[in-house]
Point group: C2
Chain length 94, copies 2
């Protein structure tokens, strides 16, 4: 299992615009083959979000990264951020 | 749901010693009430680990933080790290 932690720092004034994009991304992604987990969570600071992902294979993650919804929505989300997303990926051990 | 991302930078030469501690911590924690997820994953760099946690309530997380296994094992794990763990917690939105 591949685990991805993707942090988005959305500008506080853009959070209202970002939410429907996150919702569409989460809904579409959870339907994808090999998607074991796709969760949006927020930190204490306004606009600080994390997407926590679980993928059953590298192939499944690659399909996701090239999907219509990802390639359409993520650039829009990034445009609402004050900095580039920080994306860390891991291999599940236990 | 509370989501926790806890990063541990174990010294490469201590990874062998850290693994049984992680294993015991994961096994005991997964039995706890309110523990929705407790996963150990590793990054590309040797010794770079993350624990991805899901807790159904703040109370459940507090019980965990004061549990016998946590209070015994986590200090031992930290002693094998080159720097303090970085712990981020989030509230699940979707």
């Amino acid at each position: 299992m591949i685990r991805v932690v993707a942090k988005f720092e959305v500008k506080p004034e853009e959070v209202t615009n970002a939410m429907p994009l996150f919702e569409e991304l989460v809904e579409a992604t959870r339907k994808e083959d090999g998607c074991a987990q796709y969760v949006l969570a927020k930190a204490g600071e306004e606009g600080s979000f994390v997407v926590l992902e679980g993928w059953e294979s590298k192939d499944a993650l690659d399909v996701h990264s090239n999907s219509e919804h990802f390639t359409r929505l993520v650039p829009q989300l990034v445009s609402l951020c004050g900095s580039a997303p920080v994306i860390d990926s891991y291999i599940q051990v236990i």
